[in-house]
């Protein structure tokens, strides 16, 4: 499969979903989607025909506000019909603005930041206890790194040498109020994680090939959990959104939507 084309198609799905539903965290969806693409379409052992397979790999979207990205991946993978998303964030819908474990393929409810990595620690410990070889992937936002509970989980994963656990930091450097470094300094992520006993990989997180290589390396790590500091661009793939904090939670107008789709189609053509 051409993962670059897949990631571009998913970007179109996300933009369309948000445009139709009139709600969504567009910028963060666009920065994180390449990570999800590499995990779900190349590495992760998950099967919509056997959702509760005890040997499945586990995925937790700790930056739960990027739920549109996850829902677009899960529906594309066949966990539920794409038409289900017509009622995204609608009255009584289970497809809400943060991942909800009533949705096929979602392992745990997230949305409050600072929880997902600790869930992953528990899943990784369970896998070790049961002598299963599944892997656990947790994706966090960089603004989320200000939550103290994250560091409790980082400490525990390092202590227990959970090499079946891989964390990602979607390091797009923007959060609601501005840049992460203005709001609360997050540099150096690399030094911080390393100090807690993690194997640290720092890459361009919108580069499919770099992500592919990083996830492959994480699987080889022995005796240490791996974190991929994914240096990304918020709004990646749509020119007017890129690096704009305002697109954290904004819905495109008709013109913006049309332009975004056009740009993504041009991008897709380059990969064909």
């Amino acid at each position: 499969m051409n993962l670059k084309i897949k990631a571009t198609d998913l970007r179109k799905d996300i933009l369309t979903l948000i445009y139709k539903a009139r709600t969504g965290h567009t910028g963060g969806d666009m920065s994180v989607i390449d990570i999800l693409t590499v995990l779900y379409y190349k590495y992760m052992n998950v099967n919509p025909e056997n959702i509760k397979d005890p040997n499945r790999d586990r995925f937790i979207l700790s930056k739960g506000h990027a739920s549109e990205a996850l829902y677009c991946v899960l529906s594309d993978k066949g966990f539920f019909p794409k038409s289900d998303l017509d009622n995204y964030s609608g009255y009584g819908s289970k497809y809400i603005g943060h991942p909800n474990n009533k949705v096929n393929g979602v392992e745990m409810n997230t949305g409050s930041l600072g929880h997902g990595l600790a869930v992953g620690v528990g899943m990784a410990l369970a896998g070790r206890m049961d002598k299963k070889d599944y892997r656990v992937y947790a994706v966090m936002g960089d603004g989320e790194m200000a939550e103290g509970s994250v560091w409790e989980a980082i400490m525990a994963a390092g202590h227990y040498k959970l090499d079946n656990l891989t964390a990602f930091v979607d390091r797009n450097r923007l959060q609601i109020s501005g840049t992460t470094e203005q709001v609360m300094t997050q540099d150096s992520q690399e030094k911080r994680w390393e100090a807690f006993g993690w194997n640290v990989l720092s890459i361009n997180g919108n580069d499919i090939d770099a992500l592919d290589a990083a996830v492959g390396l994480a699987k080889q790590s022995k005796g240490k959990p791996t974190v991929v500091i994914a240096n990304t661009t918020k709004g990646c793939g749509v020119s007017y959104m890129e690096n704009q904090a305002g697109w954290h939670h904004r819905v495109p107008t008709e013109e913006e939507y049309a332009q975004g789709i056009k740009e993504l189609e041009q991008r897709r053509a380059q990969y064909e």
């Binding site: 409810n109 600790a118 992953g120 410990l125 206890m129 509970s149």
Partner: protein
């Protein structure tokens, strides 16, 4: 006298059940000694996880384990477990509906002279306010064992609070009436009803004996199940006796008293007197000294019960 702390009873029960059920996992937050879990950790290290002093992580890691099929017991001082990790209890245990039993040890004012930081006088209120969270305060070690047995039979979230010290048993070895989510009627009575939870039940039972000597017939209810609370036994008490006294090692805001008053107000209004801890820093002292200060003893309960009858 067969006199052991409720937390010791939990450890004994878990140790026994875990010999054959390898899915049981116990976690603690540098609290294995104070939780009486040292024996468990020594005998079953593969089923025990030390999290360190990190209650938020304790609860969320527990939820992650449970999502992979483990039957998890997360044990930590009630004061920290019920407030510092309340959001983790809400999101990762209750909302995600994971098979985690949160065990709050040394609850209420068990820590005595260690002060307000270590008291948990609001854990019923915090935990009961979370949708899908059940709340239990067993009265003695016999009932604690029955409760743990019942919790091992289901896969729903719950919070259990026990005290630090050994308490005199309410029940007897061969007479431990227990039905899950149904209060235990300890003694029938027609004048007044004493509804207590946790380690206040013994004092309520003793108060009924004092009242009996004065010719007053007191009904005694062990409301170990705070959520779901046994509404029927409360309504029945409201109808069949002249009023109710609630006794709890908890602030009267949001605990047993609030719930009983809510049930009676909506179904059969009667006088409900609440006995609990004050809305103020609790006085320093050993548990019994603190209880005596606030009238949370047999004599104090009997005195309040008579107020119901004099109205």
């Amino acid at each position: 006298m067969n006199n052991i702390a409720n937390k010791q009873a939990i450890c004994n029960k878990l140790l026994e059940a875990s010999q054959t059920d390898k899915d049981i996992v116990v976690l603690c937050s540098d609290s294995r000694g104070s939780a009486s879990l040292t024996k468990f950790a020594d005998e079953l290290p593969e089923q025990f996880i030390e999290i360190g002093i990190a209650e938020q992580n304790l609860v969320t890691v527990s939820a992650g384990l449970a999502s992979c099929g483990k039957k998890v017991f997360a044990v930590s001082p009630a004061s920290f477990l019920s407030t510092r990790s309340m959001e983790q209890a809400k999101v990762d245990v209750a909302y995600s509906n994971t098979n985690v039993t949160l065990v709050g040890i040394s609850g209420g004012i068990s820590y005595g002279a260690l002060g307000m930081t270590h008291h948990s006088a609001n854990d019923i209120a915090t935990m009961a306010s979370i949708p899908n969270m059940r709340v239990y305060l067993p009265s003695d070690h016999f009932q604690t064992e029955k409760l743990i047995e019942a919790l091992l039979q289901d896969d729903k979230p719950s919070y259990v609070r026990v005290g630090r010290n050994a308490v005199d048993p309410v029940y007897e070895e061969n007479n431990i009436p227990f039905e899950m989510d149904k209060a235990t009627l300890i003694k029938d009575g027609t004048d007044v009803t004493l509804i207590a939870c946790g380690e206040m039940v013994k004092s309520a039972k003793d108060a009924a004996e004092i009242l009996a000597k004065e010719g007053i017939s007191a009904r005694v209810v062990d409301m170990y199940c705070l959520k779901p609370i046994d509404k029927d036994i409360v309504i029945k008490a409201a109808k069949e006796t002249k009023g109710i006294v609630t006794i709890e090692e908890h602030t009267i805001y949001g605990g047993l008293n609030s719930q009983v008053a809510q049930i009676t107000a909506q179904n059969y209004p009667v006088t409900v007197i609440g006995m609990g801890l004050p809305d103020a820093p609790v006085i320093t002292g050993k548990s019994q000294e603190v209880f005596d200060t606030y009238g949370l003893n047999a004599e104090g309960i009997a005195k309040e019960a008579k107020k119901v009858l004099n109205k």
